[in-house]
Symmetry: C2
Amino acid sequence: MNGRQVSSSRARVCIQDVARHAGVSAMTVSRALRQPEKVSENLRRRVAEAVDRVGYLPNRIAASLSSSRSNVVGLILPSLRNSLFADTIQGISDVLHGAGHHLMIADSGYGLAGEEAAIRAFLQQRVCGLLLHNTWHTDAARRLIERVGVPVAEIGDLTPEPIDITVSYSNFEAARTMTLLLARRGYRHIGFVTLPLKDNARSVERQRGYLSAVAECGLAADPTLILELPSGIGSGAKAIDRLSEVNPGLDAIFFAGDVLAVGAILECRRRGWAVPGRIAIASFDDVDLLSFTDPPVTTVRIPRYDIGRLSAEAILDRVSGRALKPVTFDLAFQIIERGSA
Amino acid sequence: MNGRQVSSSRARVCIQDVARHAGVSAMTVSRALRQPEKVSENLRRRVAEAVDRVGYLPNRIAASLSSSRSNVVGLILPSLRNSLFADTIQGISDVLHGAGHHLMIADSGYGLAGEEAAIRAFLQQRVCGLLLHNTWHTDAARRLIERVGVPVAEIGDLTPEPIDITVSYSNFEAARTMTLLLARRGYRHIGFVTLPLKDNARSVERQRGYLSAVAECGLAADPTLILELPSGIGSGAKAIDRLSEVNPGLDAIFFAGDVLAVGAILECRRRGWAVPGRIAIASFDDVDLLSFTDPPVTTVRIPRYDIGRLSAEAILDRVSGRALKPVTFDLAFQIIERGSA
DNA sequence: ACAGCTCATGTTATCGATACCATCAACAAA
DNA sequence: TTTGTTGATGGTATCGATAACATGAGCTGT
């Protein structure tokens, strides 16, 4: 007897104890719980009884080790603070929990190195799938994932070099489409405000979309029309300030993310500028607030909940062997035309 | 040889393989990785080399089972969609990941039964600690937690019957204080808008705080001044509508949560009502938007990030044995006086 | 020079469940 | 009656790491 330390107070109940109480073997208990249809009616009842008599809580850690099968999916986001991710998380969670799986969350701190660290940590936890919001990754991260062979879904953007599954929309097309809309409406000096570009494929793609549209329309690609600002409402006001100062002819601004546009609307009102009379405003991401401002803001709506739901489903399909090959879901974004442009 | 199915393609590397390559025992590898100071300089190097030659990823599942120690903390929120929780999650995550721990998240769907299910699931995953936003729980949930003996921190409110650790602020006092402020400012017909009360201790406490303040000031506890509405900006406008219709004398509204107040501000502007001239508005939770509206909104600021940080720290202290007893952190809320009241 | 220590490393049993195979009863087919 | 088949249950090795103890080399002090 190799008496390993056992915290005496709380008696850990294991499957053996249940087996004893039910007068069967551990194996049978395991089966009765996981494949009730495989055991006799009678046994099923006896086991169920024993389970709650002794207060048995199956040990998923042991089950995972034994079956080399995990029921945890890891999600890595740039930041947990950004409320835009909330819908996606809910979509993921709804699917996973509905299927008896669990969700682990980490943030990359908006950095590739941070993402790699999180991936490594999750692989050590033996997650059965990974959901990555980033589409840029370090080489080491890609190698790790490939070597382990874990299913991965990238959900932040469509990408030319997917690791595996992709469930997203085209940031490029979304930004391009919105810019074209502004041009079609007759705006000729369209400012563009982007969130930080560093390590952020989505921001870069949106900017490319803007530039592409501008070129298509034969408008000047004036670098003074572009501004990179940190997230937050305050940045909206700052953008109005800076862009209009340098570009007197400015007649529209496309805010490529977050709640920037709300700040801009408020700032315009403060200045007494008519929107869209004096300046038009467009946004990215349909935060519900945008429909309540005066005027309500024209924006790109992203199917965030669905991205979460579908990506989780794709991962589960892979985990369960129902699907085997990489797939790409190109979810449609939607332009919501409101009064601001 | 009991050939268990092994997916042949991806060779799982285990500690034994590292040991072989380094010419030492598995135990030594384990030590070299976890307690480098316990092995010779020389070995440390050889093991490190072997680790990345063979591409070893420690299996935390096996480690947990073997040591009966987990490095995963479970967090249960009423909903993942609510962006108010984002700061708290970030606080928790920062602490946990800084200590090599992980975060599992589930939502209770704003229901006690949902919470119990999530707790049970997390205990099966053998989390080393639980963070609960609710302070109301089913009896079964309380029994489960007690029997397992896992450290728990309740973070949504201070409570007279804590399970264990509490890290929060007093919803009652916060609401009471704000209501008193309004009364002191001379408002006599103070409306109160609450989020749904069902299964939600926080909402109930806030309402109690309001009622307590109203009573203290000798104002009438008029039930027509109280309105229960679902979350969302739209509810703000609806509240203005309904309350002012029934109560012509209404001179202030205290919105006890979420972004309700923003909707109200926007609605007032639409109606051309002066704030606070025609009606004063106060809010709960300092969403940054509230400081950008016109007028900016007087509100209660909750130290959400700190709640996350401190609760995670408290759990880790308990897990590591540094702390043993239940504690309560009563974090101060803060009244932010702005122009709306 | 030898008991007594310390420090580095190895051996073995174990955590709790599951995969795989063995077994055995009941029953159908020949 | 015998063989084959099906269905229910049990036995044993195993997943991959770690705790606890064992070992053995090098060192100290008297």
